[in-house]
Amino acid sequence: MEQTNTNIKQSLREKVLTRIEGNTIIVTSRWYFIARIALIGFLTFAALTLSSLLSNIIIFIIINSGRSILLGFGMRGIWSFFIFFPWLLLFVDLICILLLQRLLSVFKFGYRVPVLYLGGIIFVTGFLFGVIIHHETPFNKEIVHEGERHHLPGFINDFLHGAHRPPSAGQGMYRGIVQSIGTSTIIILDSDAGTSTQRTIILGIDNEYATTTGMNIGDMVFIAGDEREGSIYAYGIHSIDKDDFDEPHEVAPVQ
């Protein structure tokens, strides 16, 4: 048996060495491996950049459309926030993170760290970069201004307009300028709908999230509520700073 195994082993060794000595096996060049590492590095950078940009866009949408304000309107506001969260963008971001994880698993640190931990680190890193892009750079303002000047493709302009507006009327979020303040009602001028529309906002009794305290005529407000018989029954109202919203204004293209 041992003799047979030895014969098998010699045969296997001979087969391999014969092929090597016959120059039929091409040794992959070192440059291939260097190029592979470089490509992985580039794709890693690209995926992390995309993840950061997506985080930035998510933050931009949440803040500029007023959705972040919903978190201050109690459980109902928190529920609405989750309903109107840009989940598709988050899903694409998670795909980026999975791709990044796959790329990094080529290296020891990539597979030695548990999947959830590495995914978490990548997600937090991308999110932090997204926060930095939004708060510390004029990137978003520049994009909006470029959109106003029609320097960007049409679908990006449409996206920017959509990102500024709360979810469309009928889905429970409105924004406008206060025209008059009553005991239990206020009138606002809503310009998000395209043309200025007057809306009557009815305030609930003993609702700490929907009061007129500190409100003045001319203030811009964000309202969450249900539309019934032409009026909006608010469950949350919050004053907003007009300067916080880079409302896109159409600028005639330069001839």
Binding site: I8, I20, R30, F33, Y111
Partner: protein, 183 residues
Amino acid sequence: MLDEALVLLLQEGNTEIFGILMERYEAKLLRYGHKFLSDNADIEDIVQDVFLSVYRNSKGFDTTQRFSPWIYRIAHNAFVNALRKKSYSPFVPFDFDTLVSHVVYDDPSIKERESKEMMMHIEKGLNLLSPKYKEIMVLYYIEDLGYKDIADILQVPVGTVGIRLKRAKVALQKEVQKKYGTD
């Protein structure tokens, strides 16, 4: 001469060195292959392909790392692919053991103590285990590799190796008890 030094010479163009490497790993890889497949001809073909792959990619090996996990990694991929083809199952289930960290200790004294008992169980019941558990038992008890080396071969966290080994031992003992009754 260490394996890594031999590979360094191979990378510099000394192809005769490859015969020494083959001599060192041939028997190990054939034995390793027998834990995956039963057909000698298939195993021999795959081991041949493994050596050719090692030769072809020799310039991609980082000689500051250990050679043994690298060649076992190539062999692992080759045998797992062969198993997958035989089972006609292209789907690779996700390994939930790799999701979170597990605290494990690779204690050689424990290994030595339980080695005798485990070898008896392994002889009786290794083929009753699923491939995932079979492989880790082979790498740890038969190929005598440590947790870190096994982690590099399977490309999983070190904690996953420990937890998988623990489950494999329990599964093996259960299977042996089921088949052969209590000792």
